[in-house]
């Protein structure tokens, strides 16, 4: 299990998150293609939190990544902002709308859904938004 918490996350911290994913990939021996797309999904999830939930303010952002023996990958992206379910936004968004910038975040969510097998949201008892992403990788 790998964890990263950024206390005052803003867009200028995105490089730290990407470096964190690079480190996991090296330790978990992800193939190059999986590495790229998992990194993309995590970047999009974090960018959505920074843009919508925190809306430019610095806020706490935590990412945890776990991979079990059967190579099932579970990623949690947590923030401590107002309750916000991004999966509901995505359901109402067409790709064309997101391209027109009328629905920011739509394209990022489209990517996340395409890359991951399962995308779900829940509000944790401690009061944070949790986006859970799961993907079955090829077993080692």
């Amino acid at each position: 299990m790998w964890q990263l918490t950024v206390e005052k996350a803003t867009f200028s911290e995105i490089h730290r998150i990407l470096a964190f994913v690079d480190q996991i990939s090296a330790e978990a021996f992800w193939p190059e293609r999986e590495h790229y797309f998992i990194k993309l999904a995590i970047e999009e999830a974090c960018a959505n939190v920074l843009e919508h939930t925190y809306a430019g303010r610095a806020g706490r952002l935590a990412i945890s990544v776990a991979q079990d023996a059967s190579a099932l990958l579970t990623i949690l992206v947590q923030d401590w902002g107002q309750p916000f379910d991004p999966t509901q936004v995505a359901a109402a968004t067409s790709l064309q709308e997101s391209l027109d910038k009328r629905t920011p975040g739509g394209l990022g969510l489209h990517f996340i859904r395409q890359i991951m097998d399962e995308v779900s949201y829940f509000r944790s008892p401690e009061g944070c938004n949790v986006l859970q992403l799961r993907k079955q990788l090829a077993p080692p």
Binding site: I14, L18, R33, Y36, L40, E43, A47, L107, G108, H110
Partner: protein, 113 residues
Amino acid sequence: MLEIERIDMRRSALMRVSGRIDSSTASTFEEELMAAVDDKGNVVVNLAEVEFLSSAAIRALIAALKETRERTINRGDLVLTNVPTRLKEVFDLAAITSLFTFYEEEVYAVGAF
């Protein structure tokens, strides 16, 4: 980290981009693209040295593409060249591959204008 080298050709601006175009650098990328569109009308973007590209980069490219096509004076185009395989897959994922013209080599992309 993002670096952009711009070379002004006779009929287009050639932009050689390297590094990452993510949610933290896409606004700089978009500003540079828009400046190139303003100055030259036609833009060639070489993505050979881009190691990572996110949806924010795609939005910037689409905004600049629209700008080139919607201009009434000096209507132009924005084309892409030397796009690495992974990045091409990201364009495919966004289902917008048909919006852009892709070239294999910079010389042909520049020569198109």
